[in-house]
């Protein structure tokens, strides 16, 4: 096989790993609370700034900056739920989406005020690794592994704990949950916190490969939503697979054409999928 194509395939899988975390977070929140957080990518942006600030400006060790970032964005997720989403739970979905769209502007505005529109880089890099004939960026590989670990931890939580099982149950049947002794409002809060924490983890993995600026969310936010919908909103496994599919389309598309055109292909693919299988590619 053409080593460059092989490299594109490998990079596509690595890219899919990066997409996977925010997709899982969005799907979790949507599946449980039934609200799309339009500002999800901006939560990731806030997390990226947090890591940059604590590591580059305050001189904290990187693992500590990562941990604080994850905790901070988890708290943001909880606040978002309490202040914006919960009061709108009985409103039509589009009002909820628009309100979280308002939060998108707020977060962009706050970031601009505090950090200006300048691009900030972490300046951490790991040497590339040669696997067979293919060069793989060490940073991307590490981020990929961390993303898989995060996804695995989420899976174990959902599979083996009481709260995780309740989260999977509530996605199907909200009304019956009180009969199980489950307070749906509490589950919503927990899901929002986990959704936020996943955005925080995604931020840690993105800041090592991408400069942060207030509008960075617009560069990966739209595709994250599309992957979610493609996998079937609320369908965690579907979203996870779709993330890799999109990663491959973009990376291999970039191998044959330009990166921009590969995004066009990916978005067009999304629209076609919506037309053919609106319930998602991997719906059962």
């Amino acid at each position: 096989m053409d080593p460059f194509l092989l490299e594109a395939l490998v990079n596509g899988i690595l890219l899919g790993g990066v997409f996977a975390l925010p997709v899982l977070g969005l799907n979790l929140v949507f599946g449980v609370v039934d609200v799309v957080w339009l500002c999800y990518a901006e939560l990731v942006m806030v997390g990226m700034y947090a890591v940059w600030f604590f590591y580059s400006q305050m001189g904290w060790p990187l693992p500590l900056a990562f941990a604080v970032c994850i905790g901070l964005v988890a708290v943001l997720g909880v606040l978002l739920h309490l202040l914006v989403v919960r009061p709108l739970l009985t409103q039509p979905p589009i009002n909820q989406v628009l309100a979280t769209g308002g939060v998108l502007f707020v977060l962009q505005g706050v970031a601009t005020l505090i950090f200006s529109t300048e691009f900030r880089a972490l300046g951490v890099d790991m040497p590339p690794m040669e696997v067979g004939e293919v060069f793989v960026s060490g940073t991307k590989l590490a981020a990929f592994c961390a993303a898989l670990l995060g996804a695995g931890a989420l899976w174990a939580f959902l599979k083996f704990t009481y709260v995780g099982t309740a989260i999977r149950a509530i996605a199907r049947d909200r009304e019956v949950m009180p009969l199980m002794g489950v307070d749906p409002q509490r589950i919503y809060l927990i899901a929002s916190a986990i959704g936020g924490a996943l955005a925080g983890l995604a931020a840690c993995l993105l800041i090592v490969q991408l400069d942060v600026h207030p509008f960075v969310g617009l560069s990966f936010g739209p595709i994250t939503f599309m992957i979610c919908v493609m996998g079937g909103l609320g369908n965690m496994l579907g979203g996870f697979l779709a993330a890799f599919l999109m990663g491959l389309i973009i990376s291999v598309g970039g191998f044959w054409g330009t990166t921009e055109l590969s995004y066009v292909v990916a978005f067009a693919f999304f629209i076609v999928v919506m037309f053919i299988r609106p319930q998602g590619l991997f719906a059962r």
């Binding site: 409103q91 979905p93 628009l98 502007f105 706050v110 005020l113 200006s116 978005f267 919506m274 053919i276």
Partner: protein, 326 residues
């Protein structure tokens, strides 16, 4: 028939504005408000029937770039370029909307499909940088001396009239639609698509009709904005950011009243300009921040927008309007 009368008087009053000799800056703000209002009016034509598009920015961009490229590369006057650009935008809108409606892509899914389409247009504009200048933007070529008219390049007063006519056209479309059977059909569709279909409403074709009008108005607004600014760039004419701003303006003003999107445009532009005047350019971040807060507040406390406050009183006597909470 008081509404057309009021509207006529308002129009005459607005047409007289340049006669008062307002400062250039004020004219600039007013023109921007009218053009933004036109885009918002176009969006709200769909939005108020539950067809929430997050990709309307794309139609601004398609029309604006078509017009500018025809002028720069083929020397075709914007007077023809604008209708052609609108035609291309409407065609693109129909290509997207027809399968979406036919295959019943609704709600969240419709919003996200339109979002994807908007992104495609933005990226295509950037990718065709040899013609469009990519993300650096594009400036329409200067016309030969004495041909400013042909290039549709006017002073502020000239543009005020163009913007005013375009804005009025948007409102006329709104009134005509309101008086047609389509309005009722669309209201029925937005409440319950199956029920509407079962009483013989042709769901897809009604939705297509309103989409064509909506896209055409947004496209006109995009082309005129580009022509007025004499500058085009992908961020301000396509993509999620501008699309959300259009949505925000229409929602804040109120998308169920004809004047709502105009109120919304006055708020957003006024906000932006006010913040710039009071806080200077280093606080540019404050504008989206305040927008965003307002958008959240509107959703929490006033989902029918500012115009909704007036409308409630007027409608108490008449039949209840399709509520935003349905």
């Amino acid at each position: 028939m008081t509404a057309p009368l009021t509207a006529g008087l308002l129009l005459v009053a607005l047409a007289a504005v340049p006669l008062l000799g307002p400062p250039d800056y004020l004219m600039h703000v007013l023109i921007t408000v009218l053009l933004t209002a036109l885009a918002g009016t176009g969006w709200a034509m769909m939005g108020r029937y539950g067809l929430v598009s997050f990709g309307h920015g794309a139609f601004l961009g398609i029309a604006a770039y078509t017009m500018a490229l025809l002028w720069n590369e083929a020397g075709l006057t914007p007077w023809l370029g604008i209708p052609i650009g609108m035609g291309v935008a409407v065609l693109a809108g129909m290509l997207l909307a027809y399968p979406a409606f036919k295959l019943r892509v609704v709600g969240h899914y419709f919003a996200l499909v339109t979002l994807a389409a908007g992104e495609i247009v933005r990226i295509l504009i950037v990718a065709m940088r040899e013609h469009t200048g990519g993300s650096l933007g594009l400036t329409p070529a200067k016309p030969p001396p004495g041909a400013g008219w042909l290039a549709m390049q006017f002073d502020k007063t000239g543009f005020w009239y163009i913007a005013l006519i375009a804005w009025a056209l948007g409102l006329v479309c709104w009134f005509l639609l309101d008086r047609s059977m389509s309005s009722r059909a669309l209201a029925a569709i937005s409440e319950d698509e199956d029920a509407a279909a079962s009483i013989g409403i042709r769901v897809t074709s009604e939705k297509m009709k309103v989409t064509v009008i909506s896209v055409a108005l947004a496209a006109l607004a995009g082309a005129l904005t580009a022509q007025y600014r004499q500058y085009l760039n992908p961020e301000s004419l396509a993509g999620l950011g501008i699309s959300l701003q259009i949505v925000f303006g229409a929602i804040a003003g109120g998308m169920y009243a004809p004047i709502g999107p105009t109120i919304g445009a006055a708020i957003t532009i006024g906000l932006e300009e006010g913040l710039r005047i009071f806080f200077g350019t280093e606080l540019t971040g404050a504008a989206p921040l305040v927008y965003g807060l307002l958008l959240v507040m509107f959703m929490l406390f006033m989902p029918r927008g500012i115009a909704g406050l007036f409308e409630r009183r007027a409608q108490r006597r008449a039949t209840p309007a399709p509520a935003a909470t349905e």
